[in-house]
Assembly symmetry: C2
Homo-oligomer: 212 residues x 2
């Protein structure tokens, strides 16, 4: 049992934001920042920032603030970005291809080894150097290549079936883009991306603001 | 000033989830549901569900529960899903094409009229019946076609510049997939999709759970 598992999900969900802001500061050549300055940047209060970061150890120093590079590196470790993960995608449509194509994920340690699909028109094609394979071979591929992350970019009706295949094959985490809840055992990590919900929120605020 | 603008963002962010669960219930032919049953389905407590929905009017009836179809329809109205929005996408890569291709958005009232890009190799191509046009013509297109939503699926370095073009052209809401914060005036609605952050959260929980 390590300390991090005690931290609330709300705090954890802010860590990637801190990491992003710190990365931008490094790109701008800024080496030191106070929690007050971080507050202006992130929109979180300075005391919330200090509390959040204290959950993971005392990074800041009174009167000095935070060393940007050290803090970014430490947060990266906490987020597991120093670890390398093998991933596959089921659903080689535009969204699946976009994920395979995005070098930013690979730079952060997530390597898409293969896409899988049932559509014979796309099987055999390559996205960058990543081949689209027949769904038929997915279980053996996952086992052979120690794939830990399974990505789902299919319509919702096939999502659960794919999750079941992933779990059976030994995958530990699922990144799910299908707009449905997956039923998985407790030891499988699921992270959902809800594009519909995000768009509906935009719609809500447009409606409320402009009373269209 | 309408009532909804007083409701907290946390509550509002749950509305699309309720809408999704209710839509699934309708698909299953279920016409009536109690807050207890909704609680099992959504993972929110029954009292939270009642509180959330009471913000928008008294939908439920003591001893009867909620009429699934009525509630789904009302939530849809609150979310603006009965309104039609015209949208454009800048960035006609895989992600932009995935958005243009996804019929689910159109069914919910969001019509992508055009994609825009600077890459001459894609200008003129069509995704379904949606043309990829030259960035040069974007301002006049937005004004001529009453486009209200601008979608950004470019790398982060060009995102602010595109946001500025959108704002200058009269767009009211931006759906931003670029991993950066946009600077916009108060009357512009921005909704961000943070794919990186979502992946990093998956990574965090994998690391914490499996101590890799």
């Amino acid at each position: 049992m390590n300390r991090e598992s005690q931290v609330s999900v709300t705090v954890i969900r802010r860590l990637p934001k801190y990491h992003r802001y710190l990365t931008e500061l490094i790109e701008k050549g800024i080496s030191r920042i106070s929690s007050q300055e971080l507050s202006v940047l992130t929109g979180f209060t300075a005391s919330q920032i200090r509390q959040d970061l204290n959950n993971f150890g005392g990074f800041g120093q009174q009167g000095y603030g935070y060393n940007v590079e050290d803090l970014q590196k430490e947060l990266g470790k906490i987020l597991g970005l120093d670890t390398r993960y093998n991933a596959v995608v089921v659903g080689a449509g535009n969204l699946g291809q976009a994920i395979a194509n995005y070098k930013g994920f690979e730079d952060a340690g997530f390597k898409v080894l293969s896409l899988f699909d049932r559509n014979p028109r796309v099987i055999g094609l390559k996205i960058r150097d990543i081949e689209i394979r027949d769904m038929e071979h997915i279980e053996e591929f996952i086992k052979e290549h120690n794939v830990e992350i399974g990505i789902i970019t299919t319509p919702k009706d096939s999502a659960q079936q794919i999750a079941d295949i992933y779990i059976r094959s030994g995958i530990k985490g699922i990144w799910n883009f299908a707009p449905t809840d997956l039923q998985v055992p407790d030891d499988i990590v699921v992270e959902n991306v809800r594009l519909n919900e995000s768009l509906f929120i935009l719609s809500y605020f447009l409606k409320t603001k402009f009373d269209k």
